[in-house]
Symmetry: D3
Subunit: 338 residues, 6 copies
Amino acid sequence: MRVVTFGEIMLRLAPEGYLRFLQADKYGATYGGGEANVAVSLAGFGADAAFVTKLPENDIAEGAVRALRAAGVDVRHIARGGNRIGIYFLEKGASQRPSKVIYDRAGSAIQEADGTDFDWDEIFSGADHFHFTGITPALGDKTARITMEAAAAAKKKGIKVSCDLNYRKKLWSREKAREVMTALMEYVDIVIANEEDASDVFGIAAPADVTKGGVTAEGYVAVANELISRFGLEYAAITLRGSISASDNRWSAVLVSEAGEVYKAREYLVHIVDRVGGGDSFGAGLIYGLNAFDPGRAVEFAAAASCLKQTIEGDFNMVTVDEVLRLMSGDGSGRISR
Amino acid sequence: MRVVTFGEIMLRLAPEGYLRFLQADKYGATYGGGEANVAVSLAGFGADAAFVTKLPENDIAEGAVRALRAAGVDVRHIARGGNRIGIYFLEKGASQRPSKVIYDRAGSAIQEADGTDFDWDEIFSGADHFHFTGITPALGDKTARITMEAAAAAKKKGIKVSCDLNYRKKLWSREKAREVMTALMEYVDIVIANEEDASDVFGIAAPADVTKGGVTAEGYVAVANELISRFGLEYAAITLRGSISASDNRWSAVLVSEAGEVYKAREYLVHIVDRVGGGDSFGAGLIYGLNAFDPGRAVEFAAAASCLKQTIEGDFNMVTVDEVLRLMSGDGSGRISR
Amino acid sequence: MRVVTFGEIMLRLAPEGYLRFLQADKYGATYGGGEANVAVSLAGFGADAAFVTKLPENDIAEGAVRALRAAGVDVRHIARGGNRIGIYFLEKGASQRPSKVIYDRAGSAIQEADGTDFDWDEIFSGADHFHFTGITPALGDKTARITMEAAAAAKKKGIKVSCDLNYRKKLWSREKAREVMTALMEYVDIVIANEEDASDVFGIAAPADVTKGGVTAEGYVAVANELISRFGLEYAAITLRGSISASDNRWSAVLVSEAGEVYKAREYLVHIVDRVGGGDSFGAGLIYGLNAFDPGRAVEFAAAASCLKQTIEGDFNMVTVDEVLRLMSGDGSGRISR
Amino acid sequence: MRVVTFGEIMLRLAPEGYLRFLQADKYGATYGGGEANVAVSLAGFGADAAFVTKLPENDIAEGAVRALRAAGVDVRHIARGGNRIGIYFLEKGASQRPSKVIYDRAGSAIQEADGTDFDWDEIFSGADHFHFTGITPALGDKTARITMEAAAAAKKKGIKVSCDLNYRKKLWSREKAREVMTALMEYVDIVIANEEDASDVFGIAAPADVTKGGVTAEGYVAVANELISRFGLEYAAITLRGSISASDNRWSAVLVSEAGEVYKAREYLVHIVDRVGGGDSFGAGLIYGLNAFDPGRAVEFAAAASCLKQTIEGDFNMVTVDEVLRLMSGDGSGRISR
Amino acid sequence: MRVVTFGEIMLRLAPEGYLRFLQADKYGATYGGGEANVAVSLAGFGADAAFVTKLPENDIAEGAVRALRAAGVDVRHIARGGNRIGIYFLEKGASQRPSKVIYDRAGSAIQEADGTDFDWDEIFSGADHFHFTGITPALGDKTARITMEAAAAAKKKGIKVSCDLNYRKKLWSREKAREVMTALMEYVDIVIANEEDASDVFGIAAPADVTKGGVTAEGYVAVANELISRFGLEYAAITLRGSISASDNRWSAVLVSEAGEVYKAREYLVHIVDRVGGGDSFGAGLIYGLNAFDPGRAVEFAAAASCLKQTIEGDFNMVTVDEVLRLMSGDGSGRISR
Amino acid sequence: MRVVTFGEIMLRLAPEGYLRFLQADKYGATYGGGEANVAVSLAGFGADAAFVTKLPENDIAEGAVRALRAAGVDVRHIARGGNRIGIYFLEKGASQRPSKVIYDRAGSAIQEADGTDFDWDEIFSGADHFHFTGITPALGDKTARITMEAAAAAKKKGIKVSCDLNYRKKLWSREKAREVMTALMEYVDIVIANEEDASDVFGIAAPADVTKGGVTAEGYVAVANELISRFGLEYAAITLRGSISASDNRWSAVLVSEAGEVYKAREYLVHIVDRVGGGDSFGAGLIYGLNAFDPGRAVEFAAAASCLKQTIEGDFNMVTVDEVLRLMSGDGSGRISR
């Protein structure tokens, strides 16, 4: 199974432990970004995963390439050029104090890329699946256009297309998002969203009050059904996070099929190590799972994989298929595996 | 609003993470002390806060001055001279293992300061509020006398005076504390205490068994009322900590006014990052809150501010008014603020 | 009280915090091993504890000697020679992600030691107690034989002998374990085991499903009784761990005497810092407790000591008798001890 | 003595020790920039130093403000707004491997500032000296214009103006630099340059081959004289660096006065800890020295101060006047001062 | 240009900075080994480099694979299986204190590999060059046999073969080395050695006293000539290290051709950051250089590349062709490249 | 050979690398003090070394006990009690920037010890040698008296007594030092001093100008002879440090015997890692050397041992006799010992 993802990868700079930005005199440096995270997860599952982006020719960007290569991701289609790699600063929250993200991504190479940087025909050669998120078209009109070209090219080749809505209010307005994402939906087979994305992007709301930690799965089934019918999807999946605090979250998901079958994953109570990339690891798990298992097992696989991600530092989910299956099989006891 | 606080600031040396002293081969070095912590908190809220103490002329003490200056605290009235800055060693507890503090503060510059080191008339020029804690007079007869002079000078200028009882059994006996603190109460308008202080210092006891994690707010309302009537106070506030373990605490507070009105703050279940300075951040929140809001909102502000403090490393509370208000508004879910 | 323990001590290499092996570019280096951990614990309680092993003459092994010496353990009977010190790599788990251990101990000096390396007559001179675990005989036929010689020598001198079953499936089969351990039981007075050891080694099973976090103490009383009657023991103790997740465990134990008296320790809900060595610290606590207190208090002491261990980094339990007694006396609130 | 400096301050991200960018998984985070460095140095000498810039309202920028405040720099005239703080990445060289700098400063708040952000009349109230470097006008036409306004305002108020040429080829061409800097020279009294700046900016070349480590002071006296006569300066100072390797440098300087008097500082052989900011610390030393001493002593003070800077990590020179004088007095032996 | 190297890669564990083993409580973890280092260097120069070895299936070994992959090395021919990855501990020396290496490599997967693990025909498909060192056959008879098979296969395919003698006295005796290496020489075209290797392995001695820091290049030309004539080589290269101390070394090399032409590289005075892997980086530079340049330039390239290596932490040389050429062009001044 | 040393051991707090105090947010924590350093060095040489002091009963002091115990020092005669362990802060210098020490040792347990804390008769049982330094009597009249008692007791038992003058101007005046040290000299057989001590304490001056890095050994022979004749010594040894800079020192020593024989050690050019404890390691080397070798070899041993110390972090010299002998044998090349 060969999967191609397309988007931005950023340098992630995070103070150690629970230090606030104002207390930090050093930053842990890793790399991450929605679609890159998905590619890394898939490579960890043994899939053939390629990540496509544009990065400048300097050592900071080269570090991103090396991180991807170390994880087994195919980086041959990364265009090089432009001025900078985007950066995001992450301050990890604890208990009642929320995590905080400061983006410094304007002017990044991928934001200033244009269509000629990517030869989708060649990129998609041999591919089975194309994945992108709502962040990529949100970066600007240029990336929106490239994403459209990529999705169209994939569709034309009969490649399955998935999209994680991933609405980012700092990047674009709800109106703009709806316009662009609606156009992209034409090429999409599988949509992934968190509880708020469908409402933010398409105005499809669910009743639950997420700030209170209470999540009603049923409400989201309705959202998924509406997404499927509105856009003619194969599957819609919605992740369900119950934020008890920055330290403890409930985590689950529902998957709904074209035919209206509902698959609800087991709920995990996660003592959070790092929740960034949780949604991406779900996406990767779902892509892998729908390929390897039946839909019910697929959403369980995705939920278990993303549960584990949240116990791991960094954007990247560093787990194997075996580890995910062990958690699915009911062993969440955390006993030492000697 | 200009607030002056007076007391000792120490070098705080703490092993990394949850290492015990006997495992440490390095110590994180920050600075802290009851009144300094209050000043830093207030400066973070945007108030004009000055901290008064005496520090020796060496680089270790200079580090304290710089930490205060970085936080925006006015350090112009810090007297320089004497032999050493006090030190305290902190070992962070976890679960059933309590945190451990080793004080090494004897002979510090502030302990050997005398009245001529401080010109209270000049120090209080333009000030609205004076705050001290029971630690300062406990350091010795000299600091007790200076505190008395400062409180008297503040009162004479019509400046509001607050005192956090902060009883430290290693510094003085209950008898000595009662004698000195009773004299100081003459100048005090607002008293802040934890569940045990009023009993330790003034023999005003409340029924609850704090070691069991059970705290009855009502008992402390009685304590507050007794403090108000005995010393003619404007307000008495009592913080309520339910220590489930070193890792998890319940946290709340009551505020009682001269008129007997009772304001009880919401209770937080805090997954502790660092509880040192929790009381100080409450004090700062209350001083700020009583100035900016009505009493009910003031105690909520103080409780929320000090809840957040306990999710932050170090003695200093590094939060903004906005962050406190967001928590008060009910969003304790710890969702990432992107 | 002089206690001798015999076994392997390894270099323990663990990534920082919750990093996975694949994320680590540095390893914290400490030392540990079942019997060494027991000796260190006992030395911390003020007992005269000697640890016997064989270590090569290089600086990595010398580090183990120094760590033991620092902890107050008598290292005079450690034989020197051979090729390497065993190593184990530890990745700390969190929430649903289990801790992971990679052993690299083949060919260690102790595994290749032979009987002439140890003069048990001299080693046991003045000793009151001999302790070993099921790991030592599992290392190979040579260590099995030496353990037998040691246990026999101890018995002959009238020294009390305790054994922690500690079954390790990577070191030997259940069949081999049963054969060797049964022979060793002839010399043993006190057996310590976790919920699974008696079943793995001797086929004595208890009903509870440990992977679900549910532990029924009663089932284990039956196991203990069976151990006592089968091997003519003085005491059998079984530790009871309820793994809620890698981050939170329930922890308790039962002690059963020859006479059938059952002593059940209080149950602790432990927020885990490092659970490795938990069983060893229980063993040390029990050895100390049976010497210093009555059996009921002994098992409480052992449970409290090992509860505290799990809040401390590293294999070694760094607690004093006072700290254990304070927890036993009910103060598990984690209040700061200033 | 009150000195105002104007320019950009950046977040500086540097791998630990001598690690290359491609090896780094964490970056030490400090702040620096030519004019900020000068202000910090002067504050360390006890001068009243203000730094003027524009910074966005986020925590990363707030860190810069705090670093300046901690160092005692007046930050009241820093405008707030804009999108980002500039960043530079620094890889420290060693021996034959040069240090490497990657700038990521495009789009910073100061680069997008305009004239209305600064009220020079108020900023210069009470000031004796204004300092800027060639980097500020190189950032763009806007900052060039603001620098011109500032210099003109200073001149009009009779404030002494100094400029460090600091040519950066990545920011502008030699032609553009010459045009803009020539216009600015109208307001400048004191010019500071390294061996190449005068040639790069004004085409005033000196014979020595700096890449070979050989520096002839005499050649630079001619350069200084030419600068003085061409621009009607009071003083021209040129720093002389002999780069033996990235680890060892020779360091000296010449100062020439309007009247043609030549003052040559002693030469130091510096075993480099961090050479970034060396020129800035020279500038600060010269500004302080010309105010406090005669010209000969001033250039010695500047050379000694900047020699010490290169033994200190970070952009900022953390030395006192006493420390500089001790080195000038001949004690470069590095004996421990107990 | 495609180069294949074959040998062992180990986990390298080194205390931080200049700490001795007995002071270390953490170890930096990287990977290295003669032939792996050569492959990484070549990949850094842009060559297509493959490293062949056998590694066990655990995360510690997986880390080695990822490090190689990150560096751009082709790892597809690494066999998986066996029990452990070899380890070496490195204590960095300083001044008069030598660096110290403790090997813990017995029983590693590659040592226990056999011929069926590698399909040389497939491995060498498309390759231009095969490189191994004297360490690989020294690991045991099995690896000696596999090396012989590999070298023979390479020769048969007309692939150029190079060998770095790299004598390790802890792995085999001089007699055994001479016997095995003599047999291997039949297939070798290019020999690389340090000053002592030719003498240790083949008894071909040169006069200079390396412990005194004095190295006479001429003596080594004679050694090279003797190697060429005895084994019918194309080239023999000898690196010349003058150890002034653990902190400062002189570094150069001579290359002699079949025809007796002598090429002597410039001598560098290196202030050492990490000298491990210096010889390997020379080998990689020579392989690259002989392919890209004339012999004189090749040895200069190799010497400059390996000079830079010694300014870089870790076994791996992280430099580009551009960086090497810049040093060769005479710029060893270490000026900052901005 | 059993050696007893008596004095103060302090907690040493040092910023990482070359950071200044004002830049430090963590301190490396080790322990050191003149006489403790000597005991550790001797234990490292395999001698039976005991260190005598008084330390409070807290974990910070316990850390000192453990560090000594780890190093193999006999700690059974350390008295426990008093209020604090002394602290010293160390900022490591580089190049022209000197190292800086801030003492915070007033009120330490040893300073407030009295005669009854030590039973010299028992302490000296079995001892061959007693060593103290001029720091101990300088701590106060009490320690001066105890030192006198100890020296007298040693003399009475026929134990050899050595004293390192170690003048500390912050602890006492030259006059006081001369008075007290003159009295102590009655019991001393071997005096050790640096270039300035004899002049500071006894007014016995030598001509060389140490701040210039120039040291004339001959001048110090005269000083040694004068010490011998004035106090009837067996040996006087003087260490000769040529401080080129904080990074590079020349290091040698002369030993003069009662009979006037002069033994001059080889001079080392040391690239400094940590020079603190250099004199103490010389003292330990001399004590060991005079016992094991002839005087000429003894001073060479002492010089080589202390040369190595200066390449090692911390106060303690962590070297073996073998390592010292290897350096003496001429191998200062720093080649890797594999």
